[in-house]
């Protein structure tokens, strides 16, 4: 026991990582702990310790703005992740044809990801702004009845966000999936051709299942992108028009800074933590089951 402990934790390594551990514990555990604590209080502008039980949660789920935010994040998340995966895979397949300008194309596709979401958002806002962007340009060219202003319409603004999200994220997905595609043995393709399996079928039934790892990596990165969507919303719509594109992160910040309701803001933040915990628990379960199966096999 003693030896295996020493084997697993080298002293210099432990000392080296202590600052990181302290920061992680400090920021995450203590931060989350206080969020949770304050979510049960009636804190307004400043945190207080006047406990009110689940009252903040009840008020949260009665707030239409919060419900819209939750709806929006689901819609945005599902749409942008699904489209990103599909586009990213198609782009990767396109790049895998050993085209000549591969490096150039790769840079172009990856460029949006290298930019801050604020920049991405601003660019898209300009393009979609009725007085500055596409609509104005078309009207200047003489097509005076041309109308394209998705950001000012409460029904379409969320789609504009999704498109911006796809534009921003599909390049990375492409890069990851391309690496996965390149990892597939060329003889697999030959064998499939000899077997008479159509190319699309080879992709769907043989190659894509072989790229589970690459898909998982891309998926996790996309999820992070969804969490980061705060920047994009602030830059493109500010949550508007009205509350049409509000998202949970936007909602939390607004409650704390504008509406000065720390208690309810913390309740909303705690709710945001729930899906993360569910995902963590699920992946933990999967890992545990796999490990147990491996142990059973040996």
């Amino acid at each position: 026991m003693q030896r295996s402990w020493r084997h697993r934790f080298h002293l210099p390594a432990v000392i080296g990582t202590i600052p990181m551990i302290l920061v992680a514990v400090g920021v995450f555990v203590i931060g989350i702990g206080f969020s949770l604590l304050w979510s049960f209080t009636s804190s307004k502008l400043f945190p207080s310790y006047d406990f009110v039980g689940l009252a903040q949660y009840r008020r949260l789920w009665a707030d239409n703005r919060w419900l819209v935010s939750v709806n929006n994040i689901w819609f945005f998340g599902l749409m942008s992740i699904a489209c990103n995966m599909v586009f990213g895979y198609l782009l990767a397949v396109f790049m895998d044809q050993r085209i000549r300008q591969e490096d150039l194309f790769r840079s172009i596709f990856l460029y949006p990801f290298a930019m801050s979401l604020i920049v991405t958002g601003l660019v898209w806002q300009w393009v979609l702004d009725p007085n500055l962007g596409l609509q104005a340009a078309m009207r200047n060219l003489g097509w005076s009845s041309f109308s394209f202003a998705p950001l000012v319409d409460a029904n379409t603004a969320i789609y504009a966000l999704v498109v911006a999200g796809i534009w921003q994220g599909s390049g990375v997905t492409m890069a990851i999936l391309l690496a996965g595609l390149r990892g597939v043995d060329e003889e697999i393709w030959k064998a499939a051709r000899v077997d008479g399996i159509p190319t699309w079928r080879t992709h769907v039934s043989i190659v894509a299942p072989m790229m589970k790892g690459a898909f998982a990596t891309a998926f996790v990165l996309q999820c992070v992108g969804v969490v980061r969507v705060y920047d994009l919303v602030i830059a493109m719509t500010g949550g508007g028009p009205g509350i049409a594109t509000s998202m949970p992160a936007v909602y939390v910040i607004q409650l704390i800074t504008v509406r000065q309701n720390v208690g309810q803001g913390m309740a909303a933040a705690t709710m945001m933590l729930v899906p993360v915990l569910v995902v963590l628990a699920f992946s933990g379960l999967v890992l545990w089951r796999r490990k147990r199966r491996q142990e059973a096999a040996t």
Binding site: D185, K190, S205, I206
Partner: protein, 366 residues
């Protein structure tokens, strides 16, 4: 043109293949008879796999035509050529069970279920992979994987099997086991097989005929024994045989009506040697295989000489002896009980009938 009539299974005519400016196969001709086992043998990069891929239809050829069973398949898709192929890396579909690996192509082709089941049953019985049918490839050993890969070619019910170095990812013991199995499989199925390898033992043991390739050109196409005993040029002679044939650079001379090969003060009489073409005096290369030389031979050999022993390598059943014959290095292989003991100087003898003479310039057989 009907090829099937004269029993030709695969006919490759004037085939050339270029990758950009690089010419990999050069106007190559090869006729494979029905049920024949052809081995393509050659050093790495000589174009063996490329030729096989051309036959399979996985590469578009630059020039020439390919017939399979009398049908011009030059521009057919691989699946329509009546071929099955086995790859070096097995190329099994990793996320599918063995059974699905075998059946996937058939299901895509729309074969009825009971026909698929019948073919899988037959293939798995022949290859003895019935207990593995529900496993994924990751849970199989190398030998089992290669058997499944052969099964995938088998269920296609084709006339021609193509193998691209199917055994080179296996360890030596498994390789020799599967080699025998492939030979038995060929005897059982009587299919045409084209088999790529750079392992000369595989080539010698499996082939009806070996095509020795170099630089995209077939150097010699013959039965294994002919290739071994009467190589058409110095490359073929040196490529087959381990240890390699002994080569001695010298001169061909005619003396009182008899031909001799001379090097320094050694004279090898060639009265028993069967010349391929009319010899002319001049520089030549004399080649003799290590196992065609004997020790302490006394009388009865057309040629004997004294040599000094440098190194003795016992290899179990055989012993390799490295000698100096004058200034020439010389290898001799004898059975272990005939190994010279504690001797520096030995007498060797051989019959030039078993030797090969090559032109010093062109390297072709004399």
């Amino acid at each position: 043109m009907d090829m099937a009539e004269n029993g030709t299974s695969v006919s490759i005519q004037e085939l050339s293949l270029n990758f950009g400016a690089v010419s990999v196969l050069k106007t190559l001709n090869l006729d494979v008879a029905e049920g024949e086992f052809i081995v393509l043998l050659g050093p790495s990069g000589c174009g063996k796999s490329t030729l096989l891929n051309c036959v399979a239809g996985l590469l578009d050829i630059s020039e020439g035509r390919i017939f399979i069973k009398g049908k011009n398949v030059t521009w057919e898709e691989p699946k329509d050529r009546g071929i099955g192929m086995v790859f070096q890396s097995y190329a099994l579909y990793p996320q599918m069970t063995v059974e699905k690996n075998l059946s996937f192509g058939l299901r895509v082709a729309g074969l009825p279920k009971d026909e698929i089941a019948k073919r899988i049953a037959r293939a798995s019985e022949i290859l003895q992979i019935e207990p593995l049918l529900q496993r994924k490839p990751a849970a199989l050993s190398g030998g089992q994987r290669q058997r499944v890969a052969i099964g995938r070619a088998l269920v296609r019910d084709v006339d021609v099997f193509l193998f691209d170095e199917p055994l080179s990812n296996l360890d030596a013991k498994l390789r020799s086991e599967l080699r025998v199995e492939i030979k038995l499989l060929h005897r059982k199925l009587q299919n045409t097989m084209i088999y790529v390898t750079h392992d000369q033992i595989e080539a010698m043991t499996l082939a009806d005929r070996i095509a020795v390739m170099k630089g995209g050109v077939i150097q010699q196409l013959d039965a294994p024994q002919t290739i071994y005993n009467r190589p058409v040029n110095r490359f073929v002679a040196g490529f087959l045989g381990s240890p390699a044939m002994n080569f001695i650079d010298g001169r061909l001379e005619k003396d009182k009506g008899d031909w001799h090969f001379t090097v320094e003060d050694v004279r090898i009489p060639l009265s028993t040697y069967a010349f391929e073409k009319e010899p002319v005096p001049g520089p030549a290369v004399f080649g003799i295989r290590p196992e065609h030389v004997a020790f302490n031979s006394g009388t009865g050999w057309p040629f004997t000489a004294d040599a000094t022993v440098e190194v003795v390598e016992p290899m179990g059943s055989d012993t390799l002896v490295w000698l100096k014959l004058g200034k020439q290095n010389f290898t001799v292989r004898v059975t272990s009980e005939r190994t010279p003991r504690n001797a520096d100087a030995v007498s060797i003898g051989f019959d030039p009938m078993r030797a090969s003479l090559f032109d010093a310039q062109t390297g072709s057989r004399l």
